[in-house]
Structure formats: structure tokens, C-alpha cells
């Protein structure tokens, strides 16, 4: 990579910028008028080459880009295509192949954040795309070559199972320089956690904390994610395993599929219950398991496809291939991590509760999908029979746990899960009446008992009883027959919806895998470990480790702890190597630093020290949130790839032309805000085309100067979107943002600008519908206020002067 750093350091007016506009088949071109964009880009300052490409991410598309860079001696590249979360890595690789530093490419998101969310307003979407490209080109001019740290790969590990434990183990290993093969049986990684709504004890949005890990696993250069695949054979011993992997056909070309899913699945005539929604929602025979599927590639379900071939005709990039055959591959690894997880207890087995017969008896897993913003009801709690919010809900605990007839063991998480879900339902439907029927409430972890207390405080009722029977009565309501063991007496009570808190059972393939890997399982259907106390992740086979729920019910934190432990054990086997890191860290521009120590004071990670009265950042440890850079009065801290100069250039470029009213500039944090905006695109949620987005790593990166400059340049509103409070990926970044914004609102107010023009939104990456709705609300609000300055009742003297 060394040659590129020197070869591309040209800056200034003689820069050659190439702009590539991707059609993404019709995904972009159906809405955005590409020829107009191309003509527009040609006239932008510094742009010497513009080309539209059918599929920029395809091999031929990349080749076109590479050729164009070489032939036209381009030194900056702007690619207007899908989200950088999708293909930034791809294009960086392509640019690097053309001899440029990989960080000299700028991705302009005109799919997830433009064409997909403005399908109904193509004209405005085209205008928006112009703005975004103009901003991208301005930013590209300021891009600087950056260097990643390199590590040689010598050792490799097989991770079986792409749930949270497997992903965590894979990422830790990969970051240490170990090559990882992550084998997942399903078409997507993410496991159960990817489908859950929120997770206790702090009610984090489950997908938001997992999705970054999923996409990181997929794009990590040391991880080969092999989906739709199973391990079928094993030879060798520790340090030298030879593993046979069978990859089942998806019938969709992984290279060609663009993940749009709408074209193929909309024509598919087969509708089946979606197992990824725990069957509460439907899917087609060609489908995406859930909107955040990783990889974002459709799959055809061979159990249900009937061969009408319409998807093949509908797929613009021609990604459907019915002739795909199973592939067998062999990999050599030094160690194996088994993270095959668990499966939900089948509540049909307890007939007296009527699951499968009574429409309004659902499982706790189905409830997770009902609550999830990307689930079948987009997060609305509706009872299945009539799709109205329930008024009275019962939770029955220990369904398939602590029960001699099914599973004698305690599933450990169900009490907390029900407490959590009861709290969430209560938050969303204030007039709902919730009763939890339990044997014992087991809230045994840190903050868990407090969590139980909180549930009692907010009015959730608890009845100590094992419910004898559920009966369906008129109106699909349900009557519970039970003995109240605290107050005594046989009782009956009627509810609108019953949630069965089903337990956890050993994963589907535990027995098969046990035979292949020669590691034992217990009578309960989970894997055995070498010693339950002292060797909790080791198996009887040296070099094979089992983590997470594959060895019994566990919550997420315990699963992750085990994943980490297994990684430590493996690295003990291997030599330790340094990881390759993104270069997103802060660095001090010494000439500009005045030694005020403000940055040192606010860096919560304590990565800034003072040396010779100048600040010094420990770049290796710095994660790049940029809270310090936002605070620095002299702009002496440069956040690599997110410099003040680059962001200011985007703001200024937006101000050059006002194409829409009200015009909103958004600063979206990469982890949640940007993720929610992308998900809105994936879900095709529509919102008004007034927002222009600048990505930052954290809301705390947003320098007050950015906001003031934006208003100065004539935007009508500024929106800062970050993670939900308490869920910041840098711990406190959004808190800093809040405090700064409060002050800036006062400042605006005093100038005479309506402070409501400055809006904050704290959402999880899964809350796409909230994001879309809030953008819409903001537009309505700004329309009522009028264009910037309209609210000034009387213009002071100076203003009149300035006006002339």
C-alpha cells in the first residue's frame, strides 16, 4: 500500500476529480434522473471526469472505475451509489487497485438515503442527489491519503454459527490478525439477537448494537463469512484441522444481487410464514430474512419455491440462478469455535396453552418481532386476530422450562425477557394491563433485581402460579385458569393476548455436529464442556471450543464473555499479532494548539495528554469520536477522514445552491442515526426530500461552528441524529452534543432565530420509522416557521444595512 501514499498527495486547484454515478439497475435510476445528474456533475469545480455506471459495485463496474482513474489521472473519486455501509470497502479496494490511496474515495449515498426514500417524488429526489453530489465533490477535494496498520495473517480459525457469540469471537480473532472462517447455516448472520427488539438490562436496541458487528464481520478482511453453509467433515488435530464445508445454493448470485429485494419478492406468488419473524410475519419464497440481513443478499427457499421463474425475469441485474449447485470447500484451521446457539422451545408441545390453535396466544419470540421497529408490524403492538392494540396481556412463564414433562432446567433468561417486554409494552400502550404468571422470578444479575422492582413500580401485576389451562372464548379472547399459590384459590381471568415465555433448547444441529466434531452433548441437548467450572469453553477435543448458548441457556453478556474467553484461549495457542485499524483517529496540529487543555479535560477515554504545553493524542487508542475536535476553539485537532475542513466544505457546498425549501442539514452519527436512515431506505419508508445528510462518527463530533455555519449558509433547519441517550458507541458523545446544542439554541433565540430550527433526535439504528416520521415532522414545523429569518419581527438597524 506504500506507493499510494506518495503518488496521490496532489492537492489544490489542479485536482482531477472523477464522479461516478451508479444506476443500481433501476434502484436509483427509476427515481433519480441520471443524465441530469451526470451533466450537473460535469460543471462542478474540479470535476474532470463523469460517468454513469449500471452497477458500480459489479466487477465490470469496478473495472470501469479503475480504468477511468488510470486513463484520466484522477486523484479524487466520488461515487454516488448505495450507502457506504454497503460498498465503501469495495470501492476503496477498487481505487487502491487503480493506484490511489483507498481513502481518497468519497461515497455519496443516493440510494438508501435518496432514491429509496423518495420514490414518490423523483424530481425532488434528483435535486437532492445534485446537492449531495456537490457536497461530496467539495469534501473529496479535502480528502487526504491515510494509512492503515498492516498485519500478516498466519493462523486461522473456524467459527461455526454466526450469532452474537460467534460474531464476537470471529471479530476478536480477526482483529488479532487471525484469519477466520465464519460458517452460518442461515442466509444471514446475526442469529436470534438480530431479530430481538431490545435487550435487558439497559433496554438497548438489539440490532443497533449487533448490526455494526455484523457488517464489520462481513467486511473484515480477515473474516470470510460463509452463509447458507454447514460443516460436514473434520480431520486432523489441534493446530491442523481440515474442515469440509458444504455451501448450499442460494440460487441468487452473491456478486450480482444488489439487495433491493423488492423486485423479485414482489412478483413471487408464494407466501409463507417467516421463520426469521418466528413465523408471526410472512415472507416470500425469495426473501431477505430481515431488513438488516448480512450479507444483504436475497435467497430462494428451496422448500417453498414452486418454479414459476418470475423472480428471474424481474431481477434487473440478472442475479437469479436456478442452476446453482451445492459447493463443497475445504479449509485449514488451527482451532474451532462452536457457537451454534439454541432454538426456541416449541410451545405447541404444551397443548393446554393452545399455541397454534388460539390466534392470540403468541410466544415471547413472536412478541420480540412485534415490538421490533423492523418487524412485520413495524413495531406496533397488535394482537394477531384483529390487529388492534391489546388492552390486557398475560405472560405465562416457564413454558418448556422447569417442567418435568418437557425440560427440567431453568432457561435463565425468560424472567428478564418478560419483565423487559412487559415494560416495553407498558411504555408503548399506556392503558394496557399486564399480568405475569410466574413460579419464581429469577432476576439474578447486576441491575436485574432493580429491573424487576421497576416493573412492579410501573404497575405490572405478578401472580405466583403455574397456569393450568388457556381457553379461547368469544371475540378470540382468552381465559386463564390458575391457582394463585400466594393468595390461595382457583381463579379464572380473561385477557386479550397471552404471551408464552418459551424456554431455550439446544440448537437444531447439535447432535449432527457432535458426531462430526466428536464432542459430546448432554441429555438436555446442549454441548458438554471439559469442566463446568474450570474449563467452561473447552471441550474434550483440544482446539475445539464451545461458547454461548450452545452449552446451555445464557444471556447475551454471558455468551459474549464466553466468546472472549475462547478467543483468549485460542490466542494463547497462536502467536499474538497486531490488528489492522481504520485510521479514524484524532491528531493534533501543533501549530494551532494553544495548550488550553480543554480537549484533555473532555476526552472520556483519557487518550489525550499534554506534552510541551501542546496536546498529544494516543492515536492507537483513540477511536475517533471527535468530541475533542468539536470542542477545540482553535480547530487544532484533526479527525482523520472527518476533518473540520472536509465537513465545512460540505456545508459550504450545500449553501452554494438552495434547491429546496425548507432545506435541512442533518449530521448523523455513523452507528445509529446513519444506520436508521439507511434502514428507512431498506424498508422503503418515505419521508420528505428536504434533508441533506453529512455523516459523522458521533453526534459529539458536531462542532458548534458547523451548526452556525450551516445557518449562515441559509439552511432552514439543522438536525443532529445520534444514538439513544445512554447507548452512545463512545459512551458520552451524545451527552456533549446535547449540552452544546442547548447553549446554541439560546444563542439562536437571542439572535432572533427560532431555536426550533435546531433539532436533535436520538434513535437506535433500528428505529427507521421514528427517523422518517421525525424528518417529516421537522419539515412541517419548519414550514410553519418559514424560511430562515422570517421569524424576525423587527430587523435591527444593522440588519437593514446588511440587506442593502
Amino acid at each position: 500500500m506504500s506507493q499510494s501514499l506518495e503518488s496521490t498527495s496532489r492537492t489544490g486547484v489542479d485536482m482531477n476529480i472523477g464522479v461516478f454515478v451508479c444506476h443500481c439497475g433501476l434502484n436509483i435510476a427509476r427515481v433519480i434522473h441520471i443524465p441530469e445528474i451526470v451533466e450537473y456533475a460535469k460543471n462542478l469545480d474540479g470535476v474532470t471526469f463523469v460517468k454513469d455506471i449500471q452497477y458500480a459495485c459489479s466487477d465490470s463496474g469496478q473495472e470501469e472505475i479503475i480504468q477511468a482513474i488510470k486513463e484520466n489521472k484522477l486523484d479524487r473519486v466520488v461515487i454516488a451509489a448505495c450507502s457506504p455501509k454497503m460498498h465503501e470497502v469495495t470501492f476503496r479496494r477498487a481505487v487502491y487497485q487503480a493506484g490511489l490511496n483507498p481513502y481518497l474515495v468519497e461515497i455519496v449515498n443516493i440510494r438508501e438515503q435518496c432514491s429509496w426514500v423518495h420514490s414518490e417524488t423523483p424530481r425532488s429526489a434528483t435535486l437532492k442527489a445534485k446537492d449531495l453530489i456537490r457536497m461530496g465533490v467539495s469534501r473529496a477535494k479535502k480528502l487526504k491519503p491515510l494509512k492503515r496498520k498492516k498485519i500478516p495473517i498466519t493462523k486461522s480459525v473456524l467459527v461455526i454459527g454466526g450469532g452474537v457469540a460467534g460474531i464476537e469471537a470471529a471479530l476478536d480473532l480477526a482483529d488479532s490478525g487471525t484469519k477466520v472462517y465464519l460458517v452460518e447455516k442461515k442466509p444471514t448472520i446475526g442469529g436470534h439477537m438480530a431479530r430481538f427488539n431490545e435487550v435487558f438490562p439497559n433496554n438497548d436496541c438489539s440490532i443497533c448494537i449487533l448490526a455494526p458487528k455484523m457488517s464489520c464481520a462481513l467486511t473484515h478482511k480477515n473474516i470470510e463469512v460463509i452463509t447458507n453453509a454447514e460443516v460436514t467433515g473434520l480431520e486432523g488435530t489441534v493446530g491442523n484441522f481440515k474442515v469440509t464445508i458444504k455451501k448450499h445454493p442460494r440460487y441468487v448470485d452473491e456478486e450480482l444481487c444488489k439487495g433491493c429485494i423488492s423486485d423479485c419478492s414482489s412478483v413471487c406468488p408464494v407466501e409463507v410464514p417467516n421463520e426469521f419473524d418466528y413465523t408471526i410475519g410472512p415472507r416470500k419464497a425469495i426473501y431477505m430474512p430481515f431488513p438488516q440481513s448480512t450479507p444483504l443478499i436475497a435467497a430462494i427457499d428451496r422448500e417453498h419455491c414452486i418454479g414459476c421463474k418470475l423472480c428471474q425475469e424481474a431481477c434487473e441485474p440478472d442475479a437469479i440462478n436456478f442452476d446453482q449447485k451445492p459447493e463443497t470447500m475445504e479449509v485449514e484451521v488451527g482451532a474451532i469455535v462452536v457457537a451454534t446457539g439454541w432454538k426456541p422451545f416449541d410451545a405447541r408441545k404444551i397443548e393446554e396453552y393452545g399455541y397454534g390453535r388460539f390466534t392470540n396466544v403468541i410466544t415471547t419470540y413472536e412478541l420480540e418481532r412485534l415490538l421490533s421497529a423492523s418487524g412485520p408490524t413495524l413495531g406496533q403492538v397488535l394482537r394477531p386476530s384483529d390487529l388492534v392494540p391489546p388492552k390486557k396481556v398475560a405472560f405465562i412463564q416457564c413454558v418448556g422450562s422447569r417442567d418435568e414433562k418437557t425440560n427440567p432446567y431453568c432457561s435463565r433468561v425468560c424472567c428478564m425477557v418478560s419483565l423487559k417486554n412487559a415494560q416495553i409494552i407498558k411504555e408503548r400502550l399506556s392503558d394496557v394491563d399486564i399480568t405475569i404468571f410466574y413460579i419464581d422470578i429469577r432476576a439474578f444479575g447486576r441491575w436485574y433485581e432493580e429491573y424487576y422492582k421497576r416493573s412492579q413500580e410501573i404497575g405490572i401485576k405478578f401472580v405466583r402460579s403455574r397456569v393450568a389451562e388457556v381457553k379461547e372464548i368469544e371475540g378470540k379472547n382468552l381465559t386463564l385458569m390458575y391457582e394463585d399459590t400466594l393468595n390461595g384459590g382457583i381463579k379464572e381471568e380473561t385477557f386479550d393476548m397471552v404471551v408464552l415465555s418459551g424456554g431455550m433448547e439446544g440448537g437444531e444441529d447439535t447432535q449432527t455436529l457432535s458426531t462430526i466434531l466428536n464432542i459430546p452433548t448432554g441429555e438436555d441437548g446442549f454441548f458438554e464442556v471439559a469442566h463446568p467450572k474450570l474449563r467452561p469453553v473447552e471441550t474434550t477435543v483440544e482446539g475445539i471450543y464451545v461458547v454461548g448458548t450452545a452449552t446451555g441457556p445464557k444471556d447475551i453478556q454471558d455468551s459474549l464473555a464466553q466468546a472472549g474467553l475462547a478467543v483468549a484461549k485460542i490466542l494463547k495457542l497462536f502467536m499474538r499479532k497486531d490488528a489492522e485499524l481504520e485510521p479514524y483517529s484524532g491528531t493534533v496540529i501543533e501549530d494551532q494548539c494553544i495548550g488550553c487543555q480543554l480537549c484533555m479535560e473532555i476526552c472520556q477515554a483519557h487518550n489525550i495528554i499534554m506534552e510541551n504545553r501542546k496536546a498529544l493524542i494516543n492515536e492507537a487508542a483513540c477511536k475517533g469520536c471527535g468530541v475533542c475536535a468539536a470542542a477545540c476553539p482553535t480547530n487544532a485537532i484533526e479527525m482523520k477522514y472527518f476533518t473540520d475542513e472536509q465537513i465545512m466544505a460540505q456545508i459550504d457546498a450545500l449553501g452554494e445552491e438552495k434547491n429546496t425549501y425548507p432545506l435541512i442539514l442533518g449530521f448523523l452519527c455513523w452507528w445509529c442515526g446513519y444506520g436508521a436512515a439507511d434502514l428507512a431506505g431498506n424498508l422503503k419508508l418515505q419521508y420528505p426530500p428536504n434533508l441533506r445528510i453529512i455523516r459523522v462518527l458521533c453526534a459529539g463530533r458536531v462542532d458548534p461552528e458547523f451548526i452556525m455555519r450551516a445557518f449562515q449558509k441559509g439552511v432552514d433547519g439543522v438536525m443532529i441524529v445520534g444514538c439513544r441517550l445512554g447507548e452512545c458507541h463512545y459512551d458520552f458523545g451524545n451527552q456533549y452534543a446535547i449540552e452544546r446544542i442547548d447553549i446554541l439554541k439560546d444563542v439562536l433565540d437571542k439572535i432572533g432565530i427560532n431555536p426550533r430550527r435546531l433539532k436533535t433526535l436520538w434513535v437506535s439504528a433500528g428505529e427507521a420509522s421514528i427517523f422518517a416520521r421525525e424528518v417529516e415532522n421537522f419539515v412541517v414545523e419548519l414550514e410553519s416557521i418559514g424560511p430562515l429569518g422570517e421569524e424576525l419581527q423587527t430587523i435591527p438597524e444593522g440588519g437593514k444595512h446588511g440587506d442593502t
Partner: protein, 423 residues
């Protein structure tokens, strides 16, 4: 992608069409070939086919025994592949599709064994057997004049194959009605001596040496085979009549399924085999049912049954049950396409007589389809006060470079607001 679906009816053939930009699929359905066996109803993966009033149709109503919803239909072709009576024809872009998972369709005449007689053709219920006669007496111009001879037919040897009668007008076959109980189509062979010149050719042509002639052999060579017989598979219902009648084991046939045909004798008092006869009439392709001459009650000969199930639906008194054990299809292994399992499941459903379960939509929020709307030209509004605001902000931005102000600000101090606004 736009998908157009339409339907046309001409005489007794429905033509269902699905057209997209890239393909045209046609499903033709000839309802006269259909007997309402419901195999397609069970096989259909989207429940697009409903069974019609089979009982009424059997007893005279002119209507299609099945009703196909052409909007629901996915044009997958399972119905065409699995119909035992080839009532469907499936064309993709004008070409007939050979489905790898279709029913076995195997019936043929073994030429080495066949002597070209007319027995199988006579008994075939569907008219699927064709025959060409190679030679006739009139092909030989020579005729014995005024010769008095004698011709004897050995009734024990004669199997009423009918070759002699086809060859020479001196033989006359007395036909009788073919039924599942009496499959031999002829009653007896008569000899008309006024037509005979005792040429002795019949002696040679009779495969059973049942004819002896005293006379004079005229000149001329008889061909090795008397006639050529073949089966037209698109009409064949694999009933086995030909196999059963052929005296020379010259027919090979694979039935499309196996199972059990059950008549509930205990309830037979309800049955009116003469007036109703729905089972007899509906089983037009296989002729399994008949009225017993012995006791006048309804009876069946399972030898000819392919267990399609039509009689079960035709009987108005619920006296019949058809149990399917197996359906024979072509080789399933090595089909790479993703729909193999669905097709196997379709066959399973036909056997168990269960329709596909339709999805119970538990919880879904309907999403509107997104189409561009006419956008109004909207005014990009700019306030005349903008300049003033810019000046004010200029001041704030300048103050943001003051370390003192920033420290106050980062510590959340309210007086930072005023400091930011200072001139």
C-alpha cells in the same frame, strides 16, 4: 415488473396466459379430457384450482370439472405435469415444456411380440391405440375358380383376435360390448362360405393355427407382420386394458399410481347403479366400474384403476373411497433447481389428498405501493432577513474561537450564551 394475465375460452378449451416483458406462458385446459379427479387441486401450490360439481357433471351437466383462478395461478406447471389424463398443455414462449418431475408416461407395443391384431385397439377406452393393416385378401388378384373346398375353425384354438376378419370378408366377427367384467370385444367368429375361394391364405395368416382349409394355395407371399400397432401417449390413460387383452404379452404399461379402491358395501342400499351411474360415467378414461350381471349391483375391476380419485368425488352417496399409496413420477434425483422439494411436496399432497395450507397472516402492516406522483413546482423560499442573520452568526462563529468561551460552553455554563453574542 408488469405481469399481465388473461383467459380465453373456445369450445371446451380454456387458454390461460401470463405475459411479462420477457416471457409468455400459456396453460391450456381441455375440460372434456378432465374427469374431476382433483389431482391438480391437491397439487396446486397456491390453491388456484377448485373442484367443480363432479357428481352433476358425471350425470350430465356440461361444465368444467375444475375451476382455475387465473389471477392466483403462478404458471408453475405442476398441474400440467401431474394430470393423469393430459387435460392440460403448458407452453413457455410457444414451446411445450417437458417437466422433469412429471408423471411417468410409459406405455408401448413390443413390436417383436405384436402380431398386429385388433384386440387392444378394440378395448382401448380412450382411443389411444392406432393400427395400420399391412395386407388384405384383395391385395392378391388371383382367385380359385369353382373350387369346392372346406374350411374349419377350431374354436378351442381361436382367440377371436380378428386378423382373419380384417384380412378377408369371408370371416365375420360378432362384436359385443366391452366392460371391466368382460373385456373380450367379440362374441364369436362366423364363416361366410359364399365369400370363400379356399385360397388357404387365412390358414397361414391365423397366428393360432385355428383355421384349416382344404383348397388350393394361390400364389403370393404374405408379409411377416400382419399389421402395425402403436399407442398415442397423449391420449393414453394407462388403464391396462390393452395389457390384459393382449394374448401375446406385447404391451408394456406403467400405471401412474397404485393404491386401494374401496366400495362401502354396507351402504350400498343407497346406490342406484342404473339411474345414477355417476361412477361408471366419470370413469370414462379407465372403465373400472360396471353393473354386475349377477346381482345388478355396482361393481368394479381394480385391474384397470389408476387410483385417480374421480369416482370418489362423482358418487353422490359417498360410497367410494380411493386411497393412494404411491404416484409414479419421472426421476427426481439430480434436479438442481430450487423447486424440486415443492414439487415433491405437491405429489405428497396428492397422495394424502390434502391441499396446501394457506398462510394465516398473523400480523402484518400493509405497505402502500410506491408510485411517483405529479410534483408541484415549489418555491424555494428565502427570507429577506437572511443577510442580517448571517452577520449575527458571523459574530458567534468568531466568538467560538475564544478558548474562554469554549471552556464555559463545554462546562455547560449559561453565561457562555452571552459571551458568544458579544461584539
Amino acid at each position: 415488473m408488469e405481469i399481465r394475465r388473461e383467459v380465453d375460452i373456445e369450445n371446451h378449451t380454456f387458454t390461460f396466459q401470463q405475459k411479462t416483458e420477457k416471457s409468455a406462458r400459456i396453460l391450456e385446459f381441455d375440460y372434456k379430457k378432465c374427469n374431476g379427479c382433483a389431482v391438480c387441486v391437491f397439487a396446486c401450490p397456491v390453491n388456484a384450482i377448485e373442484l367443480g360439481p363432479v357428481s352433476e357433471i358425471a350425470t350430465g351437466l356440461d361444465a368444467p370439472p375444475i375451476i382455475l383462478d387465473h389471477i392466483k395461478c403462478t404458471y408453475c406447471g405442476i398441474c400440467a405435469a401431474i394430470c393423469p389424463f393430459k387435460a392440460f398443455n403448458f407452453l413457455e414462449n410457444g414451446e411445450k415444456v417437458e417437466f422433469p418431475l412429471a408423471l411417468v408416461d410409459h406405455a408401448k407395443i413390443i413390436n417383436d411380440k405384436c402380431i398386429g391384431c385388433k384386440l387392444c385397439q378394440e378395448v382401448c377406452p380412450t382411443g389411444a391405440i392406432k393400427r395400420e393393416i399391412e395386407v388384405k385378401r384383395e391385395d392378391f388378384p388371383e382367385k380359385n375358380q369353382n373350387l369346392i373346398g372346406e374350411l374349419k375353425i377350431d374354436k378351442d384354438k381361436c382367440n377371436l383376435c380378428g386378423i382373419c376378419a380384417d384380412f378377408c370378408p369371408a370371416f365375420i366377427l360378432i362384436e359385443k360390448e366391452v366392460g371391466p367384467d368382460t373385456i373380450i370385444p367379440f362374441d364369436q367368429l362366423l364363416f361366410d362360405q359364399t365369400q370363400c375361394d379356399y385360397c388357404k391364405l387365412c390358414e397361414e395368416i391365423c397366428p393360432e393355427d385355428a383355421i384349416t382349409v382344404e383348397g388350393k394355395r394361390i400364389k403370393g407371399q404374405l408379409p411377416d407382420v400382419f399389421g402395425r400397432v402403436w399407442i398415442e401417449l397423449d391420449k393414453c390413460s394407462h388403464c391396462d386394458y390393452c395389457v390384459k387383452i393382449c394374448p401375446y404379452d406385447a404391451v408394456e404399461n406403467t400405471k401412474t399410481g397404485d393404491g386401494d379402491l374401496i366400495l362401502y358395501e354396507g351402504r350400498l342400499h343407497k346406490c342406484d347403479p342404473v339411474g345414477c351411474a355417476a361412477c361408471i360415467k366419470i370413469c370414462k378414461h379407465n372403465k373400472v366400474w360396471y353393473v354386475s350381471k349377477k346381482d345388478g349391483r355396482i361393481a368394479f375391476n381394480e385391474d384397470f384403476c389408476i387410483y385417480c380419485g374421480a369416482c370418489e368425488y362423482a358418487c353422490p352417496y359417498d360410497l367410494i373411497e380411493v386411497r393412494k399409496d404411491v404416484i409414479f413420477t419421472r426421476e427426481l434425483i439430480n434436479i438442481p433447481q430450487p423447486w424440486r422439494e415443492s414439487w415433491e411436496m405437491a405429489i405428497e399432497r396428492v397422495i394424502s389428498k390434502e391441499r396446501i395450507k394457506e398462510l394465516e397472516r398473523k400480523a402484518v402492516s400493509e405497505r402502500p405501493t410506491l408510485k411517483p406522483v405529479e410534483e408541484e413546482e415549489r418555491e424555494v423560499r428565502v427570507s429577506p432577513n437572511q443577510k442580517y442573520i448571517q452577520q449575527q452568526l458571523e459574530k458567534v462563529i468568531a466568538n467560538l474561537t475564544s478558548p474562554k468561551v469554549r471552556v464555559l460552553m463545554e462546562r455547560g455554563k449559561e453565561d457562555s450564551v452571552d459571551k458568544l453574542l458579544e461584539e
